[in-house]
């Protein structure tokens, strides 16, 4: 898919126009795909409530089958988690669970999870973000269509918990630009081919910047990253401890739209 084939997207593109363009591209891409490759999802978690939330979102994924590897970072599965996992297994989703001590780093856990899975693609998801039901399928569609080593989403939607506000940021520049080759995508939306991931050393072994680790290694190896629409994913900025400052106010700058609460729409799987 080339930019020329699309209608002009700009800063003034409305949400409705954006969704309609996304749907058009989705239809074109899906026409070309006969059989989906195998996908493994890796998730590291240390908050039981967030794990419940992401498991519920995974159950709604339209991608027919995938493999799921959960890394429990110092927590145990509770009854609710086991029920949700049971429901996923009924959907013919293979679920692997591995426990890690608290002294393990996030990078080590994610890399280990990626290694233990077998899908042709590995998708990293963050347990505190919000994913629409087409998330996994859209990523695979984009990877196949563009013959990319990795794909991910633009940062178009951010939920700011302290303000209970979702901002929409859409434009043709920076992290908001969609449908283009880039060295950056949202960390919670990375999907990478197994061979490229392995060569990049997966997510490294650091405590932070695990996304940067895999994306830059891939780029250094000559790999190509396609960035698709952010719609279908909401990045979440949660409350932090009082001493820890994240400057979430920057997401208000040049925002096209602000919606109180979590943006409610079927593209995010949040419509009531």
């Amino acid at each position: 898919m080339h930019l020329e084939e699309k209608c002009a997207l700009s800063r003034s593109t409305t949400f409705t126009e954006e969704i309609s363009e996304l749907s058009r591209i989705r239809t074109l891409r899906r026409k070309k795909i006969k059989k989906y490759p195998s996908v493994s999802v890796v998730i590291a978690t240390l908050r039981p409530a967030d794990l419940s939330s992401i498991l519920a979102q995974l159950k709604k994924q339209t991608l027919e089958s995938f493999e799921l590897a959960i890394g429990l970072h110092g927590i145990d599965l509770n009854k609710n988690h086991r029920e949700l996992i049971g429901a996923l297994q009924k959907r013919k989703i293979k679920v692997l669970v591995r426990k890690y001590d608290t002294d393990q780093t996030l990078g080590t856990i994610l890399s280990d999870l990626a290694e233990m899975t077998s899908g042709e693609y590995v998708s990293k998801m963050d347990d505190d973000d919000y994913y629409g039901p087409e998330h996994l399928r859209d990523l695979i569609d984009a990877a196949i269509d563009n013959n990319a080593d990795a794909v991910g989403r633009a940062m178009n939607y951010v939920y700011l918990e302290p303000l209970d506000l979702t901002v929409r940021r859409f434009g043709v520049q920076g992290t908001q630009a969609v449908e283009l080759w880039s060295d950056w995508v949202c960390g919670g939306t990375i999907l990478i081919s197994r061979s490229a991931g392995k060569s990049a050393g997966w997510f490294g072994n650091g405590t932070t910047a695990v996304d940067r680790a895999i994306l830059s290694s891939l780029t250094n190896n000559g790999g190509k990253i396609w960035r698709t629409f952010g719609a279908g994913y909401i990045y979440r900025r949660s409350f932090t401890f009082h001493t820890y400052v994240t400057n979430y106010s920057k997401y208000l700058k040049n925002a096209n739209q602000q919606i109180v609460g979590l943006w409610s729409d079927k593209v995010f799987g949040t419509s009531k």
């Binding site: 303000l163 209970d164 400052v245 109180v260």
Partner: protein, 517 residues
């Protein structure tokens, strides 16, 4: 407490700000009943004309009932010959605290059952479709307060019979060839686009000669403030406006006011009586309020501050920035884990020194209250629950450790000019502050569910970075607008020679600073 919703019954879409349909037509087959309420003390001759004009109304007779309240007239008021079929006199037995328009109206109306109450003065006469024009709004929604359009006439020499016949024959306008409008009132209505964009001025346009509202709205508001003897309509207008009610002056609902009003004739005496009485309840009467250092019943601002990580000096800075304009006052609600102050401590090395200092300085002040919260994060929804239902125009929240200079006055000014229900600021250090407009809060609270979301749906919510807001307050792009606002704001403070001197000094100082720059 269960909040009564006056909106959700008829409308699928709640009202947005003060928007209303344009070109609404008289309802062909109306259903709502109307109780006409006239409180009078003497004035039989004018009442006879009023009753004749009521009998001539085009609104279906079976839906109209008239209640004439005789508030202790020297010679008892009688129903005239020409009157609507369902007319009744209610003799209001006077006693201390049981006399006057507010007490009589409140007590009598409490027992009247009707969909709509139409309150009229006894010295008015109405065009044939006057009530029908009021009622078209009430058929459209539950949140309207409708004002008729009136002109004053100096003399009249027609009988009730003539008035009745002329009105029925659509010759209402021919009853008088000379009349006067209230210029100030008409200008205000004009300026606010018939109160579609009333800013804080909406209430001033609310006058008592002919207004109507749904009975449930009157009951919710509790009617007039009983302790007001005159000017009660202005105060009611303030509460209606603060409630988020749409006040509609209907230019097609014609009426004549027979003679000049008491206010016009005895302005000085009336002002002396009314101004302090009304200023108790109407914070917008800043000029009156500025004449006294004492506090008034309803403040201009209600400020909630999370003081868990706040110093006394920061708190006082927030207060002094907010109250820079004379005649403004604020109630402060300080949130913290106050209970921790009860633990044993030593003045040396006290871990709660800041909190204790705040409490020790302010615990005796009536406009400060202390609310207990636990250690967690405060969501916006949770913060909003601390705001009261009192008709205080602006509610403000600010993190006590707000890392920038917080000017609550500038924020509420911006809130008002942006016409949003809520405007918030976020700093690079993750600190928050926001201002909420009471009409938006009041309406949102009647809708149930998330108040914050309903404020967004019915009035609009806007968050800005502190830098963007600051640029609007100090940047070159908005210089002219700011200068105009500066003169408007500072000009209001001049009420004496010394204030004028302060004003001149300020201007000189600013000019000097700009030149040196």
């Amino acid at each position: 407490m269960e909040r009564q919703s006056i909106w959700d019954k008829q409308m699928s879409q709640p009202t947005y700000r003060f928007e209303r349909p344009a070109g609404l037509e008289i309802v062909r087959k109306p259903k709502l009943t109307a109780a006409v309420i006239v409180a009078c003390r003497g004035g039989q001759e004018k009442l006879d004309l009023l009753m004749a004009s009521l009998a001539a109304q085009s609104y279906p007779k079976e839906l109209i009932s008239v209640y004439v309240i005789d508030d202790g007239s020297e010679s008892a008021i009688e129903l005239p010959r020409i009157k609507p079929s369902k007319s009744k006199i209610i003799r209001y037995k006077n006693a201390p605290s049981k006399w006057g328009k507010t007490a009589a109206t409140n007590d009598v109306v409490a027992k009247i059952k009707a969909d709509v109450y139409w309150f009229v003065d006894a010295d008015m006469i109405f065009d044939k479709d006057h009530l029908a024009h009021h009622m078209k709004w009430h058929h459209d929604g539950d949140d309207y307060a409708v004002l008729g359009w009136k002109k004053f006439v100096q003399e009249w020499n027609y009988t009730p019979q003539t008035a009745f016949e002329m009105i029925v024959a659509h010759k209402f306008n021919q009853l008088h060839s000379e009349s006067w409008g209230k210029t100030l009132w008409e200008e205000r209505v004009q300026r606010t686009q018939d109160l579609l964009h009333p800013a804080l001025d909406g209430y001033r346009a609310f006058v008592g000669a002919t207004f109507s509202m749904k009975s449930q709205l009157w009951k919710k508001l509790g009617g007039y403030r009983r302790d007001l003897i005159t000017g009660e309509d202005t105060e009611l207008g303030w509460r209606l406006f603060m409630e988020g009610v749409r006040i509609v002056p209907d230019r097609e609902a014609y009426s004549w006011h027979l003679g000049y009003s008491t206010v016009e004739l005895n302005k000085e005496e009336i002002d002396r009586h009314n101004l302090p009485a009304l200023a108790q309840y109407i914070p917008e009467m800043k000029k009156v309020r500025a004449q006294s250092i004492d506090s008034w019943k309803i403040p201009t601002y209600e400020v909630v501050i999370d003081v868990r990580s706040c110093s006394l000096s920061k708190l006082l800075e927030i207060r002094s920035n907010l109250l820079s304009l004379p005649g403004t006052q604020a109630n402060f609600i300080l949130l913290a884990n106050w209970r921790c102050l009860k633990e044993r401590y030593s003045p040396v090395g006290d871990p709660n020194a800041d909190l204790r200092e705040i409490y020790s300085w302010l615990k005796g002040q009536r406009n400060f209250s202390f609310k207990e919260i636990s250690n967690g994060n405060l969501s916006i929804e949770e913060i909003i629950t601390f705001f009261s239902d009192e008709p205080i125009p602006f509610h403000i929240y600010v993190d006590g450790n707000f890392d920038q200079i917080f000017d609550g006055k500038a924020l509420t000014d911006y809130l008002l000019s942006s016409e949003n229900g809520c405007v918030g600021l976020a700093t690079k250090q993750d600190r928050r502050a926001f201002a909420l407009f009471h009409p938006a809060l009041a309406r949102a609270r009647t809708l149930g569910g998330s108040t914050y979301k309903e404020v967004a749906n019915t009035w609009g919510v806007l968050w800005l970075t502190f830098e963007d807001f600051n640029a609007m307050s100090t940047g070159s792009k908005y210089r002219i607008k700011r200068t105009v606002n500066f003169f408007k704001r500072e000009g209001k403070k001049i009420n004496s020679a010394s204030q004028l001197l302060i004003f001149i000094k300020k201007i000189v100082k600013i000019l000097f600073r700009k030149i040196l720059k």
